[in-house]
């Protein structure tokens, strides 16, 4: 395969990943890694590096829009970034010593989990009162609703923080945004309203991914020639996705995407077990 063909295939794949990723809320990284490692035969370390770079691009690109709308809670994001960045540095260091097949198996499992999680019905719950720890850390806020500002509180700060350390480790180890794990920490444990948790998680991904990306950079995971089509493709895909979102019924799409991801996950797990990765 010539460099030109390789770059074009990767660009189209990354465009599709960014498009579907932004429509379903699953990041683009989960498609980039199997595409590179399973189908294009690139070493999984370079695949992880390129995927992580695309996570930073989509996070900064989409967070820009949400922050302006005032939905993102910057205090919750900043506080939990302590957990995710510590985890991310550990994860990135683990990635340098973890055997490739372990990474492939772990990636497949997280992928299946994310696919199932994306199909789960989201229930909106708004806490009126924050727990004492959440109150002293000022982990509450409000966001614009249809009839004025909606105020919310949070709880179980320690549990959420611990889950965020785990999300950070997975992010640094596998080169993904760990969106599904972050949403569990914020929605299910801390009871942050869905709209706030999704945008805040997206906002946090950039800083989290950067914490491991600079480690990757020094370990030689970042191949500019592979990152280039991935970054450009994912960003354009995400921009297109943001436009389509208004017209397409996301439910059918989400099911389709979950099926695609499930298939990719099984492929990764199979290759991990047989040692083909």
């Amino acid at each position: 395969m010539s460099v030109l063909v390789f770059t074009l295939v990767l660009f189209l794949g990354a465009y599709a990943a960014g498009l579907v990723g932004s429509l379903t809320g699953l990041g683009g990284g989960v498609i980039i890694i199997p595409l590179l490692s399973v189908f294009l035969g690139v070493d999984i370390h370079y695949a992880i590096g390129a995927a992580l770079v695309s996570v930073i691009a989509t996070s900064s690109g989409s967070a820009a829009a949400y922050v302006r709308e005032g939905i993102t809670n910057m205090r919750i994001g900043m506080f939990l970034e302590i957990a995710t960045t510590v985890g991310a540095v550990f994860g990135a260091l683990l990635a340098t010593v973890a055997p490739t097949r372990v990474i492939a198996l772990l990636f497949g499992s997280i992928l299946i989990f994310s696919a199932i999680n994306s199909l789960r019905k989201k229930t909106q719950h708004i806490l009126q009162e924050s727990s004492p720890l959440a109150t002293s850390l000022r982990l509450y806020g409000s966001y614009p609703g249809p009839d004025g500002a909606i105020h919310y509180g949070t709880r179980h700060v320690i549990g959420g923080f611990a889950m965020m350390i785990f999300a950070g480790i997975m992010s640094g180890l596998l080169g993904i945004g760990s969106g599904a794990l972050k949403v569990i920490a914020m929605d299910n444990i801390m009871r942050i309203p869905f709209k706030v948790s999704t945008t805040t998680s997206n906002f946090m991904m950039g800083v989290t991914a950067t914490a491991s990306a600079v480690v990757y950079l020094q370990r030689g995971y970042i191949q500019p020639t592979i990152c280039m089509p991935v970054v450009v493709g994912v960003l354009f895909g995400a921009l297109t996705g943001a436009r389509i979102l208004l017209r397409t019924p996301p439910d059918k799409l989400r099911k389709f995407f979950a099926a695609v991801i499930g298939f990719l996950a099984l492929q990764m797990i199979y290759n991990g077990i047989t040692g083909k990765i």
């Binding site: 910057m74 540095v89 260091l93 020094q218 370990r219 280039m228």
Partner: protein
């Protein structure tokens, strides 16, 4: 709060500029790269464990940029992308300082310190 809203819109604007500038740099490097190497075989060898400190990464980057290497331009764009979230942290720090929110000044400093650890090689 007025300061909060203004701070948030500044950060949003900053993130967008950062992303587009680095995207443009990566794409420009990519075009040069494809013109010069597009017809070569795409071969990516297996990853070899290595550890190059940040100072050495930067020195090599600037040497390659000076030599007109398109791969260095793509790497520069990628590294500019890494800088956007870090700049975002610095802006948040200024914002919390202006609001005299000591607790969140401290929290932001902790996050920045962790990023510095990873820039220093991650205690590895």
């Amino acid at each position: 709060m007025m300061t909060d809203a203004r701070l948030q819109s500044t950060i949003g604007y900053l993130l967008r500029i950062g992303v587009y500038t680095s995207l443009g740099t990566v794409a420009l490097g990519g075009i040069f790269y494809l013109i010069h190497h597009g017809s070569e075989q795409a071969v990516y060898a297996a990853y070899q464990p290595q550890h190059q400190p940040m100072g050495a990464v930067l020195r090599q980057l600037f040497a390659n940029l000076a030599a007109g290497n398109p791969e260095a331009l793509m790497l520069l764009g990628t590294m500019m992308l890494f800088a956007t979230p870090i700049l975002r942290l610095l802006f948040s720090l200024i914002g919390f300082l202006l609001e005299r929110d000591k607790l969140y000044v401290a929290i932001t400093l902790i996050v920045l310190a962790i990023i510095c650890v990873s820039i220093a090689g991650g205690l590895g």
